[in-house]
């Protein structure tokens, strides 16, 4: 028996509306009209008791395409992926009060840690019930306080349009982040005259510095001119401010090799004479060597967290000068104390510096770096008859041809994805770097596909992370979001297994994932095609079939359960102590 649930759009009360200045409408309609005026085209959401007035009026706003997720965490990751892929546009989430809002917490933190703009609109119990422990009441503002850029509890309907405008402004400007708007249910249904505050948002207490100080910029150019062994590290800030061209220009003009953080993957063309690779804990040996051996280190749009620095006093202790450029003054000097701090937008600052530096070529430094590249290549060990994750990723990247967007999950898959990254183009590798949220990749990739439908989108995940949010397969099918899911199945929590082997006395504990579903049957249950292989010679064929299939699909690659991430700086050690892959077996 099949049950047909009728779509409401044809029903009464769903005729598209136009809301004009002065029209008396409900708070829900005011909210939706404000979203339309903020040029929102997609909302990722889930209804419930405290936001049903919003959903009541939503069908009247056909420009606001609503994607019904299967779990609110999925909505936040989708909105996050959407915002990362759109670059500069905020992702929008609807959730109900209590459990709905609380399910958003992980996704809010994930977006906030990686400076992604989101506007999360949660329903709240009615104003009179706030504070009474009413059914499905939760203190969303309190719970999210330390993981948002800003939050609002709407207390009167008058302020709603101003709050929506401010929320989008705050989320997308300066260092982007998450803004939560908690909207009580009674205000959603209260009637009020619509008034759109058309003038630009100006807040006396919020005015991010975007232009770098000219004196400091001149000083930076001077330091670069004087440097014999400069090295630049690019973080996600470079992508957020879309400074890739300025970065390339500066690097080529002044002969500066460029490496990147995990979140900065895709800031600089790989294979370029001056390209290094990922830095830090699991970074390329030659990048770490360059950071340790340079005389001027330039850090741009990055936080220098412990995954970059490893043991803090091992991070570039001999370097004479460090320039740190970031839009967030609180990041400068927090972990690494620079000789020259510059607060500003990476694009502006790099562009200005590039104009001032003297063109030069540092042949001996580049020769030295080439030597490090030869001595410490990114490499992996092949084993006859056992599929290695890198076999899959290398082939996937070959097919991607610097064009497709790749969203990685968390764990070994994420680091392998970053280490084998080979793109000439920018901004196409996405992952949860700051929070390291397992289960991010799949929902995020759906948001990415919604934002950039013209792009092929690959989702790379371990079987552990994938099952954390796999209920969104229904969303993918329902919305026909064509995402190619690559599951690297090692039947265990790979990264944890590796850490236990190497740093926790070799005791494997709570990492066995046998009993993961049969992914082919799972795909079948959702009506999408799927492939499975453990053979190197079948990888290319499977990936090509996936690429050719128009619509969501999945492949499970059974990989070597003993494969490790290398290089790695052992926990508690410093940057010079990175351990590389030993190559004897199977060579």
């Amino acid at each position: 028996m099949t049950v047909q649930v009728t779509s409401t759009t044809a029903l009464n009360g769903a005729t598209p509306v136009v809301i004009n200045e002065g029209d008396v409408v409900t708070g829900a309609e005011i909210l939706l009209e404000c979203l339309r005026r903020e040029k929102v085209d997609t909302i990722f959401g889930y209804p419930g008791g405290a936001n049903l007035w919003i959903y009541r009026h939503l069908p009247k706003f056909p420009d606001l395409h609503h994607i019904l997720v299967r779990h609110e965490q999925g909505a936040t990751h989708m909105a996050d992926g959407y915002a990362r892929a759109k670059r500069g546009t905020a992702g929008v989430v609807f959730a109900t009060s209590g459990p709905g809002a609380l399910n958003c917490v992980t996704g809010i933190a994930t977006a906030q840690y990686d400076s992604t703009p989101l506007v999360v609109i949660t329903g709240q119990v009615a104003t009179v019930a706030v504070g009474t422990d009413a059914f499905q009441e939760s203190d969303v503002i309190g719970v999210t306080m330390s993981i948002v850029k800003h939050s609002y509890l709407v207390q009167d309907i008058d302020s709603l349009p101003r709050i929506v405008r401010e929320a989008f402004h705050i989320a997308t400007t300066g260092r982007p982040g998450v803004v939560v708007i908690d909207l009580p249910k009674d205000i959603q249904n209260q009637k009020h005259a619509f008034h759109w505050p058309a003038e630009p948002v100006r807040l006396r207490s919020y005015n991010p510095t975007t232009k770098g100080n000219p004196l400091q910029i001149r000083r930076a150019a001077q330091l670069i001119d004087e440097a014999k062994r400069p090295c630049l590290l690019a973080g996600r800030g470079v992508l957020i401010s879309q400074a890739e061209d300025e970065l390339l220009e500066l690097s080529r003009r002044a002969s500066i090799p460029v490496g990147w953080t995990l979140l900065g993957t895709g800031t600089y063309p790989v294979g370029d004479e001056l390209s290094l690779h990922m830095v830090g804990f699991m970074g390329a040996g030659y990048t770490n060597k360059s950071v340790l051996g340079c005389d001027l280190l330039i850090m741009v749009g990055m936080r220098a967290d412990d995954r970059v620095t490893t043991k803090i006093d091992s991070f570039a202790p001999q370097v004479e000068n460090i320039i740190h450029i970031d839009i967030d003054p609180a990041e400068i000097g927090k972990n690494v104390r620079p000789t020259l701090p510059i607060v500003g937008d990476a694009r502006h600052v790099l562009g200005e510096i590039a104009k001032l530096v003297q063109p030069k070529r540092l042949d001996s430094w580049i020769t030295q770096i080439d030597r490090w590249k030869e001595e410490h290549p990114i490499r992996y060990r092949t084993k006859t008859g056992v599929l290695q994750p890198q076999d899959v990723l290398k082939e996937m990247y070959r097919l991607c041809d610097s064009e497709a967007i790749v969203v990685a999950d968390v764990g070994q898959n994420q680091i392998w994805g970053a280490l084998w990254w080979d793109y000439r183009t920018s901004g196409l590798y996405l992952n949860s770097g700051g929070a390291g949220t397992m289960g991010f990749a799949f929902p995020a990739s759906l948001g990415v596909k919604r934002a950039r439908p013209e792009k092929t989108v690959w989702c790379v995940a371990g079987e552990g992370g994938f099952v954390m949010t796999m209920q969104e397969l229904a969303t993918a099918v329902h919305e026909n979001l064509d995402v190619k899911i690559v599951i690297l199945n090692n039947y265990c929590l790979g990264m944890v297994r590796q850490f236990q082997d190497d740093y926790y006395e070799g005791v494997r504990s709570a990492i066995d994932l046998h009993g993961a579903p049969d992914f082919l049957k799972l795909a079948d249950a959702y009506g999408i095609p799927a492939w499975r292989t453990d053979r190197v010679d079948e990888v290319a064929g499977v990936l090509r079939s996936m690429q050719e299939h128009p619509g969501p699909c999945l492949a499970e690659f059974i990989i070597d359960p003993e494969a490790n991430v290398r290089p790695i700086v052992p926990l508690g050690s410093g940057l010079p102590d990175f351990v590389e892959e030993i190559m004897e077996e199977g060579m």
Partner: protein, 197 residues
């Protein structure tokens, strides 16, 4: 004031929840608040906070920068090393029967304290002064037998013309104003972080 003590002065939007955001931010960064006062100013849209935190200078710089990130924080100044007037009010209930009151009254006199209440068994003394003076005062009355102490926490402002004020451009909220970040910028420069033009 002890060396591991920094005094911050803040102007914040007079909104519900701001105190919570400010104190949570300091807690989250692993710092300990030893004194916090808050009250309205002559401009009722703005509250002023004086916060003493138990950290060294570098950490205080980090606190200032993190607090600036709160949208409702308008201005902050680390006034630890500035010439300031700082005051704390203390109420102390002292066990004082008739016999030994005269010595106590001498202490009251020296500290320009006041007798706020007199009972048969005890007196409530009221004294205001810098934190150090308050400490000394309490030390001296301790031998008489302290029953209860209530301290207000420190309020402070700069001496002379300098100070923490919103300029005329800061008046009101919403449209049309540009924050005057001049003073804030100077502070940040002093803290070793340069800001743009």
């Amino acid at each position: 004031m002890s060396t591991r003590h920094r005094l911050l002065s803040l102007l914040v939007e007079n909104h519900p929840g701001v105190l919570n955001k400010v104190s949570s931010m300091i807690r989250r960064r692993g710092m300990n608040i030893t004194s916090l006062t808050v009250g309205e100013t002559d401009d009722d849209s703005v509250s002023r906070m004086t916060i003493a935190i138990d950290v060294g200078r570098a950490q205080a710089d980090q606190a200032v920068k993190q607090l600036y990130k709160l949208i409702e924080v308008v201005k902050i100044s680390d006034i630890t090393e500035d010439p300031i007037v700082d005051r704390e009010l203390v109420l102390v209930k002292v066990a004082a029967s008739r016999g030994d009151r005269s010595e106590l009254l001498q202490i009251v006199e020296i500290f320009k304290a006041k007798i706020a209440d007199v009972g048969t068994e005890s007196m409530v003394l009221e004294m205001s002064g810098s934190e150090d003076q308050v400490e000394t005062f309490l030390e001296l009355v301790r031998p008489f037998g302290i029953r209860e102490v209530a301290r207000s926490g420190t309020v402070a402002m700069a001496r002379g013309r300098d100070g923490l004020r919103l300029s005329s451009k800061h008046q009101g909220r919403g449209a049309g104003q540009q924050p005057d970040l001049e003073a804030a910028d100077q502070k940040r420069r002093a803290a070793g972080v340069l800001v743009g033009d």
